[in-house]
Symmetry: C2
DNA sequence: CGGACTGTTGATCGGTATCAATGCTCGTGG
DNA sequence: CCACGAGCATTGATACCGATCAACAGTCCG
């Protein structure tokens, strides 16, 4: 019998980690990640990765695919908190707070690195660089949430759409899920609406108007940015200069 | 001349740290915090602690007072992202991301522990417990932001007010800034409105109605919760069981 | 006393929600 | 092959929440 671990993507040759946008670790730290990684998980589109109030023993780094974090008040009132892409850590709150107050669901089929929650504390002791990296991820997520809260709290529907499209495009672009102003968008109008705090009907009307005004197109699961400048002006979006990111 | 450091509150006897809601560190870790702490800062009400896009060399832990994190789109469109109370870390994003995309302003006079941003990485190496604690703070902030985003994105004005009042009461209660359903509220209706993504006029009307309905009162900078059960039902708020918190 | 800030209230407008109906695409099973 | 249903997108009619503009009251403070 071959060891199933042999079939894993090993961290030294991780295709995500090697991308230029990620800061490269010291050799010892990568070695520790390899030990920390206990498996790989592949799931179909629409799979629940983590569920509110349920304490999974695992946390994950996305290798492939899109997911979204979300939270419900009552049946039918859902807020999408953020989207997650390759390189992003899933289950961060769980790993340090020992609580899970939101769910994570896949939008596409996904491939995930699996880590053991119970070993997070050991990781902080064994590798300060990995601990720092976890804090880095948390701070980055907070920064994105700040942006979303500003978006939902202060902008009109059209500006919200403009902001979110640019935000997602730039993130997807950074990891190769978008280029030439074309974004591979595996979500539908309902997802968009739930992320923006508006109804699907209003999201649709807003999109129709923006499409008519040649700001963007959205066909066949692909969003094309046709007038980036106008979208930036509507939403006062500013691309953040892309320094090196961290990854676990 | 006496060493000014002699007049600092020393971390071993820190009145905040000693509170029961905080997890106690090992002796060595507290010793390290003492070294990490390079000063104390006292500021008047309304002072700017950190400013968007400006890289302060410092980060802070609040010893006394209230502050708020906020972010602007254009003049007059401000979102209050969250409030900060004693024990909370200020400048976390700055410390690990090396970026500052929001401002922090004091609501009351404040006393702050001062740390050097440049020493954060050393802290991770020297004390895994402190590194973990920083990650913990980041995750907790993210969790609160999740709640606020859900609030602003999915609830009506009245439910937003209900949620925020309960949220702030419970946080203030945990560190002794509230008790007997009375919350010492150093903010005004404009702050509330900016945190909830509504106008001050509408915040006022909503509050009037809630006061008329005997849900709460707000006089002399004090909010009194008169019908917690009703507020919880309106907003579907759930108090989170208060496990031990971490502090740096 | 006067000015600044905050809170309050009215009138009106506009953006979004809600309810409802229809069309479209796609996968599935008869 | 077509029928059917599920899920998603689209559009219309209407209601309502919250924004906007404006005026004024109350309080505090120099």
């Amino acid at each position: 019998m071959s060891n199933p671990k042999d079939t894993f993507i090993d961290c030294e040759n991780c295709p995500i980690r090697k991308r230029r946008i990620f800061r490269q670790f010291e050799k010892d730290d990568v070695t520790y990640v390899s030990k920390f990684k206990t498996g790989e998980l592949s799931v179909e589109a629409g799979a629940a990765i983590l569920i509110e109030d349920q304490k999974s023993p695992h946390l994950y780094t996305i290798l492939e695919g899109w997911a979204y974090r979300h939270k419900q008040i009552v049946e039918g009132k859902r807020q999408i908190l953020n989207f997650a892409l390759p390189g992003d850590l899933i289950g961060l709150q769980l790993s340090v707070l020992n609580e899970m107050e939101h769910s994570v669901t896949g939008l596409t089929g996904m491939k995930l690195c699996v880590f053991e929650r119970s070993e997070v504390w050991d990781m902080f002791k064994a590798s300060p660089a990995l601990g720092f990296s976890l804090a880095w991820q948390a701070a980055r997520e907070e920064q994105m949430l700040d942006g979303h809260l500003l978006n939902v709290g202060q902008r009109t529907a059209q500006a919200r759409v403009a902001y979110l499209v640019l935000h997602l495009y730039d993130r997807a672009d950074a990891i190769g899920y978008a280029c030439n102003n074309a974004l591979d968008a595996p979500f539908n109008q309902q997802h968009l609406a739930d992320a923006l705090g508006i109804t699907n009907v209003h999201a649709n009307r807003t999109l129709r108007k923006m499409i008519k005004n040649k700001l963007l197109t959205w066909q066949d699961k692909t969003i094309v940015i046709r007038d980036r400048e106008a979208l930036e002006e509507i939403s006062h979006y500013e691309r953040d200069e892309d320094g090196k990111r961290m990854i676990i």
